[in-house]
Structure formats: structure tokens, C-alpha cells
């Protein structure tokens, strides 16, 4: 999922302090899973903002809504009937959702309540780690299902660097050396021979390096 974390309250207050009527919108997908912008977090932020503003002497009107997703126009449209009741939108979705809100509701300022971080998976409850960088040309079949693009600090494609120590990366003892993980996995699969297949220099044009990307499905797009 796309992971995110709530911005410091101070920063959010700076965005919204000129406004008296806020629409606080959450998202029921990725940011719910990483406990950053779902229905619960919308309630918490609304309460925290209310307390902060009342401390400064005036209550504000905060409407709380959680959409199924903010990255699909059909769901964003659900806010149209109540949009006149707000002076500003504070979105608790990832960057994709914030931009969709801004695109649809052009007359209202839209602010992000979260810092969108990375595409990742849950390691255990409450812990999420980066797994995918969207390089556009997936090589997981060659590395036993472990990604060196996302998980190697240097994005090396042909084995570890000299900094790999006891299975850890030299940048931090908390970071696994992904090439150690890949080797261990290939061994357990009986595919050690695959390790010596050289991966040529990656064509990064399919990645963000080739510019902003788009997918068009001819069979689905009208």
C-alpha cells in the first residue's frame, strides 16, 4: 500500500488557520491500513484541531467525511452536495487523493494533512517498510521475490557492495542487506546458479526517470 504519516500539528494549523469552516476528508484505503488518514484518524485530527482553535479563543466548524478512495473521480464527486459548506479542504489522503480533490474542487484551497512516504508492506502490526519503487520493469522473478531496487540503498543489481556486514547494510544496523536476503532466498529455492546471471544496466525510462507516467488501456478508455 501507499504509506503516509500525519504532518506535525503545527504545520497543519499554519495551513488552516485563516479558515472558519473546514472539510476534513479521509480515505478508506491505504492510509486507513497504515493508520494515518482513515475514519479514526479523521476523528482524532478534527478533535485535536478543535481543541487547538478553542485554546485560541474561537471554535471552528469541521465537517468530517471519509471517502472510499480519493483517487477516483466518482468518489470525490460524493462531496459535491456539501462542498458549499466549507471554506477549505484538508485532505488526509495520499498525494494522489489530495491532487484529485484540488482538480475537482477548483474554487477551494486544498491542503494535505499527511506526508506521503512510500509503497510498502506491513512487517508486523504498526510497522511498515518500503518494498516497491515503481520502476516499471519488475525483476522480482530473477531475485527470488525480493527487490534490490527498493531495498538496496544503492539499487545494485548484481550482488552486495563491500559494505554488507553480517547481513546488514552499512547505512544502518536496522537495514537488512537485501542482497544477503536474495542470496538466502535463492539458496532455499535451490537456485544458487541464478545468482551468477548478470543483470545488465537497467533501462530507467520505464521509471520516473522517463518523466511523469500514464497508463492507457485501449479496451477500457473511451
Amino acid at each position: 500500500m501507499i504509506t503516509a504519516e500525519r504532518k506535525p500539528l503545527e504545520e497543519i494549523i499554519e495551513f488552516v488557520k485563516p479558515f472558519r469552516r473546514l472539510l476534513l476528508v479521509g480515505c478508506n484505503e491505504c492510509v486507513t491500513v497504515c493508520a494515518a488518514g482513515g475514519r479514526k484518524e479523521v476523528g482524532l485530527l478534527a478533535s485535536a484541531l478543535q481543541l487547538k482553535f478553542m485554546k485560541q479563543g474561537h471554535a471552528i466548524d469541521i465537517k468530517e467525511m471519509t471517502l472510499e478512495r480519493q483517487c477516483d473521480p466518482e468518489y470525490v464527486e460524493e462531496l459535491a452536495p456539501i462542498i458549499d459548506q466549507a471554506d477549505a479542504i484538508l485532505s488526509m489522503a495520499c498525494g494522489c487523493g489530495v491532487q484529485e480533490m484540488a482538480r475537482r474542487y477548483k474554487n477551494l484551497p486544498v491542503f494535505p494533512a499527511l506526508n506521503t512516504k512510500f509503497m510498502g508492506a506491513s512487517e508486523r502490526q504498526g510497522v511498515w517498510a518500503e518494498r516497491c519503487q515503481g520502476c516499471g520493469d519488475c525483476l522480482l522473478g530473477l531475485t527470488g521475490g525480493i527487490c534490490p531496487i527498493a531495498r538496496c540503498s544503492k539499487r545494485l543489481l548484481n550482488g552486495p557492495c563491500g559494505g554488507s556486514t553480517n547481513g546488514k547494510c552499512e547505512i544502518s544496523p536496522d537495514v537488512d542487506c537485501v542482497w544477503q536476503l536474495i542470496w538466502d532466498r535463492l539458496k532455499s529455492l535451490g537456485l544458487e546458479s541464478r545468482y551468477e546471471d548478470i543483470m545488465p544496466a537497467k533501462n530507467w525510462q520505464t521509471s520516473r526517470g522517463g518523466g511523469p507516467r500514464k497508463i492507457i488501456r485501449e479496451d477500457l478508455a473511451e
Partner: protein
């Protein structure tokens, strides 16, 4: 000028803290009437939003009372509650509310004296911190004192 009498909400778990409160009653131990008890099945039921809403609606102080560490009736509800209380304390600092207004306490069902001591201590702590000025009532100048 009336002396400020704080309003304190105590989320008490049914199996330990609430029973301790009951024990205090049976032993005729007095504790301040400022403490309003909300009985929950386990302190782990208490979520961050319950605490923040209590402050929003006029509480000057809040505490969560659960079983002794290692003795939670539901195994680890009290550790969950403790982590959530720590999380909300950080939020309170961000909002500008003194984190001392929120606390986590542990006690067993037989500790009537401890329950009343905690109630007295919290009431005194909140009395010293003063009224919570972030409530609608405070903003509108109608902050009520407890008789």
C-alpha cells in the same frame, strides 16, 4: 470568586479499577467528587478519540485505570491502553495542552486505598494546573465548577 473545582474523567476497567473503586466505597474511604468514573470492560477499550473527546467536552483531566501490569483480565489490554495514553500525551503537547492532564494508572481489584489515593492525587494535580480552557464552555465563558 469560587475555588476552581476540576472535572476529571476516569476510564476504569471493570475487572480491576472499577472494582477497586467499589472496594473504596465498601471500606468507606472517601475520594473527591470531582472524579467521574466511566466503566469499560477493559482499559484496552479506551481509544485516543475517547480521551480527546473528554477534553473537548469539558474535562480538565483524564485518566485511564487498568489492571496491574501482567495481570490484565484480557491478557494485554492494559499495555495497549498504556501505549495509547503515551501517544495522546504527545498529541496534547502538540496541541498546547499540558500532558500532565492525562495519566495511566494500574491497580488491582482489592486496592481500594490506591483508587482513592489516585483520585485525590489527580484532583490535586489538576487543581494546580487550572481549568482546561479549550472547551466550548470555557470559550463561551460558562465554565462550570463542581459544587
Amino acid at each position: 470568586m469560587n475555588q476552581f473545582e476540576p472535572v476529571i474523567v476516569a476510564f476504569c476497567c471493570h475487572y480491576c479499577a472499577y472494582t477497586a473503586a467499589d472496594m473504596a466505597g465498601s471500606q468507606r474511604l472517601s475520594y473527591p467528587p470531582n472524579v467521574k468514573i466511566v466503566r469499560v470492560p477493559c482499559s484496552g477499550k479506551v481509544d485516543a478519540i475517547h480521551i480527546l473527546k473528554a477534553f473537548e467536552k469539558g474535562a480538565d483531566g483524564v485518566y485511564v485505570a487498568g489492571c496491574l501490569e501482567g495481570d490484565c483480565h484480557f491478557k494485554n489490554g492494559n499495555t495497549k491502553a498504556s501505549r495509547r495514553v503515551a501517544y495522546v500525551k504527545k498529541m496534547l503537547e502538540e496541541i498546547g495542552i499540558d500532558a500532565g492532564r492525562l495519566e495511566m494508572f494500574y491497580m488491582s481489584a482489592g486496592m481500594g486505598e490506591r483508587f482513592s489515593q489516585v483520585a485525590r492525587d489527580m484532583t490535586q494535580r489538576i487543581r494546580e494546573l487550572g481549568p482546561n480552557l479549550t472547551t466550548k464552555a470555557a470559550v463561551e465563558g460558562t465554565h462550570k465548577a463542581v459544587a
